[in-house]
């Protein structure tokens, strides 16, 4: 078997909580709490979960925009968190990030041509003379017009700005792209266009995606594998068809039941979760989901369920996986 493009092993990211007059650390937000998975070249992994469950933090810690607390992130065999700043900078072009907010992710004082082209020049990969042509080329690939090159971000709509953000990532010729809810700030009609663009690009360039979303139906179209997160932990991960057909974790079932089904013959019993999401600063003991799980038993409060491969490539963390 070939080496996976990305190997994430027991990754943890805790944010310290400061309190008291001395500003001492009084606790930790366990935003990412022991996550393990691998990603092969050309795959698109969807990461779903409710708001605040640590999806963005996972993406950013993988790219080392945040320093890890524990664990390893290997990209093509290199542990990113062991690299010096200089070595990391040299690796940057290969891994890119597409942001959720198309407004705050573009610098208002930098025009489109510079925003997209500056990094290639700064890395010395393309000369100043050639860069305008490269930018124009990438603009049209991303569905924008070449004459947009001299404009400023405020002259564009949200969807167009998102295309600029994608072009900025794409021009680096990356192998791996983390897309952090790239469509959730956009109108529904624009969402489909951006997803189509991302999916076309994946085909053409054999890109590998980590696609973050709080919405399963968005991930469904683009991703061949889906991971479900709850309170900083991965509760289930499986190939798309498998996950939709045979969800093993109660939380996944609840998420799936919330998707409106157009087919009236398919039975859809909506599982409504009770209670609020617990705080990631003080997660429940045992299975973190037990406070809201309709099937919780005594053992769930005491023992942390193991994250295990139940079927081929189907991982789940539940004491009673698939038993109901």
């Amino acid at each position: 078997m070939t080496e996976p493009l990305l190997e994430v092993n027991h990754l943890k990211k805790y944010f310290p909580i400061q309190g008291g007059i001395m500003q001492r650390t009084v606790g930790h937000v366990r935003a990412v709490d022991d996550i393990t998975f691998t990603l092969n070249k050309g795959e698109a992994l969807g990461l779903v979960g409710e708001s605040g469950c640590g999806k963005s933090t996972t993406g950013r810690t993988i790219l080392r925009l945040l320093e890890k607390t524990e664990g390893t992130v290997k990209f093509k065999g290199t542990d990113l968190h062991e690299l010096s700043r200089k070595e990391l900078r040299a690796m940057r072009p290969k891994m890119q990030l597409v942001f959720q907010d198309p407004y705050s992710s573009l610098n208002p004082r930098i025009n489109v041509g510079t925003a997209i082209g500056e990094a290639l020049v700064d890395h010395g990969l393309v000369s100043k003379h050639e860069i305008r042509d490269r930018v124009k080329e990438i603009l049209s690939i991303c569905g924008l017009a070449p004459y947009h090159i001299d404009r400023y971000p405020h002259e564009f709509s949200g969807g167009q700005r998102q295309r600029i953000g994608i072009a900025r990532a794409l021009i680096m010729n990356p192998e791996f792209i983390v897309a952090d809810e790239p469509v959730s700030a956009l109108d529904v009609s624009i969402q489909a266009q951006i997803i189509n663009l991302l999916s076309d690009l994946q085909e053409q360039k054999n890109l590998t995606y980590l696609f973050i979303s709080h919405d399963l139906s968005v991930v469904e179209h683009l991703c061949n594998r889906i991971g479900v997160m709850y309170l900083g932990s991965m509760v289930e991960m499986a190939p798309r068809e498998e996950l939709f057909a045979r969800p093993l974790h109660p939380y996944t079932k609840a998420l799936l039941s919330a998707i409106p089904v157009p087919d009236p013959t398919r039975k859809s019993e909506r599982i409504v979760l009770q209670g609020d999401i617990p705080s990631p600063a003080n997660p429940p003991s045992g299975c973190k989901f037990h406070t809201r799980c309709p099937f919780a038993k005594e053992i769930c409060k005491q023992q942390v369920p193991k994250y295990e491969e139940m079927a081929s490539n189907h991982f789940v963390a539940c004491h009673f996986a698939g038993e109901f």
Binding site: S104, G143, D150, Q160, A192
Partner: protein
């Protein structure tokens, strides 16, 4: 293909309008501000008079051009001083020096203040601590007494007058950077948390580029406002120092030392043409620059409005 599905973004027939940068918009607003525009006109006039005027004057500074201490007349519009030099010509040449001192002092202060402020805000930690402690110390020392001491030192080591003006420029500029550094640092601290800075990091841009291309340009509105006001501050401070005889010293003329030359009761009472023209020049220049600064503040950064 992507282009086919998208009708909102790709429209090749869209007319080519001129890109309107944030600057263009701000400039339009400034043009509507009547007070600021009158200030701008006054300053432009002042520059024209001071830099072009002397070429049109029939007199020269070196030679006595008429009888001494005479009031305004047809041949000497603003009269002559005690050495018989034409006051109008002296005011214009002094204006060159004073305006230049203001501009250079401002540039020194902006270069130091924005760079140090940006470094402190970007790197934080010990870089921030060292820079800002130094700025705090400078801010806590009252400027005038310090400048008086330094001016006295300059007189003591007998710096030639023509080199002395450069030292005065840099001294004034060096005294006024901490205020700007604080403002820039504050803005950089919030800017560096913006998502576009994470984008810059993920693209692997160099620190130099992140600081000077991404962060500082976003603080330019505040820098422009502070810089404009600091030109007025420097001109005023230079006048005070020169009046006290420790700024620009004769024979180099400056508005401050021209007033200082009329520093006795007889000149003050009987020969107002000696001190009124430079006084009016200082007053008009400082007021004009301040109203331009206020106008710029309104145009560039509406949030700063009181």
């Amino acid at each position: 293909m992507a282009q086919a599905v998208d009708t909102t973004s790709t429209n090749a027939e869209m007319p080519k309008t001129k890109p309107a940068s944030p600057w263009t918009l701000a400039f339009r607003q400034l043009r509507r501000n009547k007070i600021a525009m009158s200030g701008l006109i006054v300053i432009i006039m002042m520059f024209l008079i001071c830099f072009v005027g002397p070429f049109l004057s029939p007199y020269s500074l070196e030679t006595m051009s008429g009888p001494s201490n005479k009031g305004p007349s047809a041949s000497h519009w603003l009269g002559t001083d005690k050495l018989g030099r034409d006051i109008l010509l002296r005011v214009m040449l002094a204006g060159r020096i004073s305006l230049l001192v203001g501009l250079v002092a401002m540039m020194v202060s902006v270069a130091i203040g924005s760079t140090l402020g940006a470094l402190a805000g970007y790197y934080r930690g010990w870089v921030d601590t060292i820079i800002m402690r130094f700025a705090d110390i400078m801010l806590s020392i009252p400027a005038l007494p310090l400048l008086i001491i330094l001016g006295a030192v300059l007189s003591d080591i007998q710096v030639p007058p023509d080199q002395r003006i450069y030292l005065v420029m840099f001294l004034l500029g060096f005294m006024s950077w901490p205020g700007l550094a604080r403002l820039v640092r504050g803005q950089i601290l919030t800017l560096r948390e913006q998502e576009f800075m994470q984008a810059a990091e993920v693209l692997g841009l160099r620190d130099k580029r992140k600081i000077f291309r991404h962060l500082i340009p976003n603080t330019i509105p505040i820098i422009i406002v502070v810089a404009t006001l600091s030109v007025a501050g420097a001109i005023l401070m230079e006048s005070v120092l020169s009046y006290l005889g420790i700024g620009v010293v004769p024979p180099t003329p400056s508005w401050g030392n021209m007033i200082s030359a009329a520093n006795n009761l007889i000149d003050f009472k009987k020969r107002p043409w000696l001190w009124i023209p430079p006084g009016v020049c200082i007053f008009m220049t400082v007021i004009a620059i301040n109203v331009i600064g206020d106008g710029l503040r309104d145009a560039l950064d509406p949030k700063m409005k009181k």
